[in-house]
Subunit: 104 residues, 2 copies
Amino acid sequence: MQRVFEALASVPRRKILAYLAHAELSAGEIAARFEMSKPSISQHLSILEAAGLVTSEKRGQFVYYRLVPDNLTNTLNGFVQEVCPVARPLKRESKARTGNPDAS
Amino acid sequence: MQRVFEALASVPRRKILAYLAHAELSAGEIAARFEMSKPSISQHLSILEAAGLVTSEKRGQFVYYRLVPDNLTNTLNGFVQEVCPVARPLKRESKARTGNPDAS
DNA sequence: TCGCTATTTAGGAATATACCTAATTAGCGA
DNA sequence: TCGCTAATTAGGTATATTCCTAAATAGCGA
């Protein structure tokens, strides 16, 4: 959990996650989207991987990275549940008389 | 958004948010729950406040802090929607796998 | 007013983070 | 094998973060 929040506390790392949300990409393809050296991107990728937010797979000369969405959503959801339990918003919600069933 | 994620990337600050989830507390009451100097807690509180995650109100000698749950949930939700759009988790809904645990 | 409590501000030291360049490792294909 | 590309590791520097103690600010009540 600590690793996840530390990983997210960086603009380039969140940007990498956003790129990987749309497609699997090689380290080089990721680096090409930033004005930053490849070693720096490699370091960011290793931080994201240590946090369990992405996984990598080597195929030939290339290392492909992709998202692990479960860890991200589970971690953030677990945290939000602790700090802003569902019970509270739900109570407020019942004030509105529109019977809207889907509030997630 | 950057400030929110930076604020969350700290164990003591997340702990403060968890305390404030249950009750409004004065700066001193918060500090009493940590083995850390009051100035350090004060600094953490100012970081949380700058991120819009808590607000403070001075009443007499005391400064009371409370949560601003909307900013927290809106920021995290906005981020999760960008990286893990709802459409994707719903598709693999039947999988139901467990993520890895980590200390907070 | 004075003394006391609550809190923040100021200043400083230790540690961590984020970059960079240079060097290394690994795979591909002639 | 050699030469080339992809990626990471190693080493170093600048900056940011996190903690501390000491000092300042502000309110309360005698």
